[in-house]
Symmetry: C2
Subunit: 272 residues, 2 copies
């Protein structure tokens, strides 16, 4: 292995026997002035296909953070099927270093996002939770639980494989249903309002339940019969939406739909 450029005392850019560029880690490997042949026994770890733009980033990150980041990404590749390139180790290490720096300054991700991320990206979140435990344990720090979601979003952001192709389809379904409610209930919904935001989130999870053939089912189901009588117009609207989406759902799903539509019809959120 030929060292062609030193990045810091323990990290160098090398060319391997097949002429490929590789970043090599090894104690003291950067002490000798390149170019020179480094004995393979000195090399502890290598990274192939690293974007050279990240060389500067590598140089300033403590080795134990690189270690932890490598383990996290290795774990992610094992669990999620080789989705991440070596570059992700470095961007993630940079991310972890920044998280540590701000540890005493702020809690940066709010609570509900933690729960949303957990449900939207369950597989990545498992990696994120394990990653947080690893970081806290190995680096003897105590990053808040929210960092697990932050790491998860980093993994989602830098994953190479397609994660959510259905998102566009869902957006158009949401638009269709929203327009229908506006026509049916003779209102104009404020799309920037809180209730619309909750409605959109609800619908998204509903679409997911439809796709996976799951219905919510709890004690609430009984309420439905009462509501049907009390809000006939909203009930009709909910039934029509069920038909538009061309799906079956149980009384409890209809109940939530009625509640959400009623919220959209509140004075603050629409113009009649």
């Amino acid at each position: 292995m030929r060292v062609v450029k030193n990045i810091n005392n323990n990290v160098s850019l090398c060319i391997d026997s097949q002429g490929r560029e590789v970043i090599a880690f090894g104690k003291g490997i950067g002490f000798t002035r390149p170019p020179y042949e480094v004995p393979l026994t000195m090399i502890q770890r290598t990274f192939y296909n690293v974007n050279q733009a990240y060389l500067g980033v590598i140089a300033q990150i403590p080795e134990e953070i690189i270690d932890v980041s490598t383990e996290i990404v290795d774990n992610a590749n094992q669990q999620l099927g080789d989705r991440y390139s070596a570059n992700v180790i470095l961007t993630l290490a940079d991310h972890i270093q920044f998280a540590i720096k701000r540890q005493h300054e702020q809690v940066h991700l709010k609570l509900p996002l933690l729960y949303e991320v957990k449900h939207l990206y369950p597989n990545e979140m498992k990696i994120g939770i394990a990653a947080l435990a690893l970081i806290n344990n190995r680096l003897s720090i105590q990053l808040p639980e929210e960092e697990a979601a932050s790491i998860t979003l980093h993994l989602v952001d830098y994953g190479n494989k397609e994660i959510n192709p259905s998102s566009i389809k869902e957006k158009s379904k949401l638009t269709k249903v929203t327009e229908f409610i506006e026509t049916q209930m003779n209102i104009k919904i404020d799309k920037t309002g809180f209730n619309y935001s909750r409605f959109a989130t609800h619908m998204y999870y509903l679409f997911e339940r439809i796709d996976t053939d799951k219905n919510i089912s709890s004690e609430n189901e009984k309420m439905f019969e009462l509501l049907k009588v009390q809000y006939p117009k909203t009930y009709d609207c909910a039934i029509a939406i069920k038909n538009i989406l061309n799906v079956e759902f149980n009384d409890e799903e209809l109940l939530y739909l009625i509640i959400h539509i009623n919220r959209l019809c509140s004075r603050e959120d629409c113009y009649r």
Copy 2:
């Protein structure tokens, strides 16, 4: 201005007249071999206090992306009170470049997160929405709406100022209420379940409404009287929670609490 190191043809590391390090952008400024004095007329833009680790990142990002990123961060600093350092311009530029690269590969942030982010970080989201419009317009591309949330999260992540000190307090309130429901309803709630996740999100927004003295109010309020009779035990639990939190809320808030508690009591989500 003295150039001490060239980063690429148009970007160099310089020392200014006061001896401070500065990254300078200017057409062809990197053509001459340093050290040399560069005429100030050649310099189009300067960045102070840049972490040198990012020099490699700068070198590989097209100038028009740096331009757009600079404008976004300038805008954010103007709107949010100088929260971001020059380094954020570079991490954001890297982020934008990656978003463009994956544009045809995937939609990376799911729909509900877009809505959550909008409501959790309304001020940062305004910057994110404007940023997306700027990127799409200036770089003649069409990144999806979700990228606005992704950029927002980047700004949240790299902001220096305290954003959410109340998060810890809220987490302990959530724990307290959860434990109370478990005792009162004689159940053990599965904290990893979907219904708990929706409950946690609901409670968080409820805490926020309490803090800002807002109640939800819509047609749904009328439902409450029916539920009170039908679910007396759950109703008692909801009233007790109101007392634990030592707040007032209207019938509609109680209604949602009852519905959520009932969901937590469903067979899939708890052990009796």
